[in-house]
């Protein structure tokens, strides 16, 4: 009833090719965009932006990036933290070396640098498959963190190796440094999320995305039907790392403002983002958002309810957070093994048939 593919006639090729061909999806997308761009910026304060929206948006970019690699192309990666560090350090070096260039270019450049590094560490994927491939990306993870910690050039020879984001502006409004407005940092991240999500959505609908999925489903078969595994896998690594690099740059420059490689981009970050896409749903852009939301919002929600409202001691709340998150993951799996994105698919199915269930 509400959600239907039929009856939505397209009369031009352009209509037929649009990002969201189904009317319901399109309107939903417009509605989300409207709320995100036109309503939320007027309502946010420091707390909402720094505690909820920024981490959610930035992790979403990283999750989309990782989902392209793991969910669409089937190449397991545990190097996300390391690649985010590349993005962060690249943007830091660029920001301090070329203070007059807009930070937007720096962030894209950081993404490009990360893409190059990602391709380099993706090379073993041509030979190693499955869980075993994780070793190559783990090598990247640990090596990159070690490198950024070890070579003083990366942190401009500061005494302790911490990097600090100086103030930079976009259209005269500060987006990094201490004197930022909540709405400004929210919007800059939102713009990047929108751009990356649209790119991802369109890439995965097109030739490249289909090549990736062919490789994921069975690489030998894909090779036989004419998909070049070298270009397909390397492009997946490049695009994925590009997104992850952008998220790393935003994570450091806009969100934290100061970072230390081992603490901010350690192995736990790699696992966290992998968990996001697994929980959200592999091979789904929506799933990336859902997973990021789940793992960012739930702990904050539990903390606010437990510690701030009910006054439970903070350590008990923190332990219960783990217990509840863990139990929820298991519960979801038992009830719905394919992640949060599958819930949405099921909901669409229901909407399609409503009010007649058969």
């Amino acid at each position: 009833m509400f959600y239907r593919e039929s009856g939505d006639f397209k009369t031009t090729y352009i209509d037929d090719d649009q990002t969201f061909p189904i009317k319901f999806d399109r309107y939903r997308y417009y509605a989300v965009m409207f709320v995100a761009f036109a309503i939320i910026p007027f309502m946010v304060n420091d707390y909402w932006v720094n505690a909820i929206f920024l981490p959610f948006l930035i992790y979403s970019i990283a999750a989309i990036g990782l989902n392209i690699l793991v969910g669409y192309c089937g190449q397991v990666s545990l190097g996300t933290g390391g690649f985010m560090a590349v993005g962060a350090y690249a943007v830091y070096k660029l920001m301090t070396a070329f203070p007059d260039v807009s930070i937007v270019f720096h962030i894209f450049a950081a993404g490009a640098i990360t893409a190059a590094v990602g391709v380099l560490f993706g090379l073993p994927s041509l030979r190693i498959k499955g869980f075993y491939l994780a070793v190559a990306t783990l090598a990247a993870q640990f090596f990159l963190v070690w490198l950024f910690n070890r070579v003083p050039w990366f942190y401009n020879y500061s005494a302790s190796g911490q990097i600090n984001a100086p103030e930079r502006t976009v259209f005269g409004e500060a987006v990094t440094g201490p004197n930022v407005n909540a709405w400004a940092v929210y919007l800059i991240c939102l713009v990047f999320v929108t751009i990356t999500a649209l790119i991802a959505r369109n890439l995965t609908r097109g030739t490249l995305g289909r090549k990736w999925m062919a490789i994921r489903d069975m690489d030998i078969a894909a090779e036989i039907i004419g998909v070049n595994p070298l270009t397909a896998k390397m492009s997946a690594f490049a695009v994925s790392s590009f997104f992850i690099g952008i998220s790393g740059a935003l994570f450091f420059a806009v969100y934290l403002g100061a970072a230390e490689t081992g603490e901010a981009f350690g192995i736990t970050k790699s696992f966290l983002i992998l968990f996001m896409i697994i929980i959200g749903g592999l091979g789904s852009i929506f799933g990336s958002f859902a997973g990021a939301a789940f793992l960012v919002l739930l702990p904050v929600f539990l903390k606010v309810v437990g510690a701030d409202w009910l006054g439970v001691p903070t350590d008990i709340v923190a332990h219960f957070q783990l217990v509840i998150v863990g139990a929820l993951i298991i519960l979801f799996l038992v009830l719905e093994p394919h992640g949060l994105a599958q819930l949405w698919r099921v909901a669409k199915e229901k909407l399609r048939l409503w009010p007649f269930p058969h």
Binding site: V135, R150, A221, D315, I316, I324, V325, L333, V334
Partner: protein, 328 residues
């Protein structure tokens, strides 16, 4: 003999010992992966949980004391008794069997036949859950674990090598004990899986679930058994590492040390875990010894993975992994 060479031997021996400790953790992963195809992310947390339970029982700690106190306003902490180490180890082993039953009954029974990635995800949930529960149960303070294992330099080896090389080798008594225990453990596991009925059932399940089921092997039983054995291995690993550093949260991070070992040795091979552990242990220690000082040290973490990567480029299924046969 040049000094560097003698030192190299010492580093080599210590690398072997460290490798045994890594292998001990990796063993738990292999057992579960082999029998049920689950990559058990929670293995490290299981080691933490087992060690905490052991210390808790030995010291007569009241489980969930902090929670009980917070809810009821009481002030209970200890039962006031001390349980001998041996009894406590047995009790902890029982707890791990109970844990295995719970895991099987409430999680994996519902997920039979799912894809590996989903089973992996379930273990992520399990890891979160268990981490929270162990801290709630036994609190997150650091606890000293002493089950009577010797620790410190082995004087006999020190004196003996001093007599030969003019430089006494440092070998930790705890490492020697760990090596012996690991050897016994592997031997026992091998005998168990080769000669006992349950062990054979386990291998049958590892080869083919459906075939095993059709000849009357109870999958449920085998899986509970495997999780119990893995829990016991986690307990042994927890005791070894916990004796060295005290029992605390960081114990769960030893799983990271086991990952390169697993990948190098192959997920499905017990000898692979041992040999992989030895190679990683020796490799990272020798690299840190020979190259580390030149490039600033602390290379062990990433070099272990680079080493595993080099091996995998030549053998993509790991040293002892089953050959990957792909058909279209």
């Amino acid at each position: 003999m040049p000094e560097q060479f003698i030192w190299g031997i010492e580093v080599f021996l210590n690398g072997l010992m460290a490798g045994v400790l890594y292998a001990l953790v990796a063993l738990g992963f292999v057992l579960i992966y082999k029998a049920s195809g689950i990559f058990n992310y929670a293995q490290g947390v299981m080691a933490l949980f087992a060690a905490m339970t052991l210390v808790g029982i030995m010291n007569g700690q009241v489980p969930f004391a902090h929670l009980i106190n917070a809810i009821f306003g009481t002030n209970v902490h200890h039962f006031g008794w001390h349980v001998p180490a041996f009894v406590a180890i047995l009790l902890t082993a029982c707890v791990m069997v109970g844990f295995a039953w719970i895991v099987q009954r409430f999680i994996f029974r519902h997920l039979v036949g799912q894809e590996p990635i989903i089973l992996f995800m379930a273990t992520i949930g399990l890891a979160y859950f268990l981490e929270g529960v162990s801290d709630l149960m036994w609190n997150s303070e650091i606890k000293k674990l002493d089950v009577g294992l010797p620790q410190g330099i082995n004087f006999a080896i020190d004196d003996y090598t001093y007599g030969i090389f003019g430089y006494g080798f440092f070998i930790d008594n705890l490492d020697i004990v760990a090596t012996i225990i690991a050897a016994i453990l592997v031997l026992a596991l091998t005998i168990f899986s080769q000669y006992s009925k349950q062990g054979r059932a386990m291998r049958a399940v590892a080869d083919d679930h459906q075939a095993a089921l059709s000849v009357g092997v109870s999958l449920n039983f085998v899986w509970i058994m495997v999780w119990s054995v893995a829990g016991f291995v986690a307990l042994v690993a927890g005791i070894m590492w916990g004796t060295k550093s005290g029992v605390q949260f960081s114990l769960s991070l030893i799983a990271l040390k086991a990952l390169p070992v697993l990948m190098l040795g192959g997920f499905t091979s017990i000898p692979g875990a041992i040999v992989g552990g030895l190679i990683i242990g020796v490799g990272e220690k020798l690299f840190e010894f020979a190259v580390g000082p030149m490039i600033g040290g602390a290379t062990e973490n990433w070099f272990a993975y680079v080493l595993a990567l080099i091996f995998l480029v030549f053998r993509p299924q790991g040293l002892f992994g089953e050959k990957i046969i792909e058909r279209v």
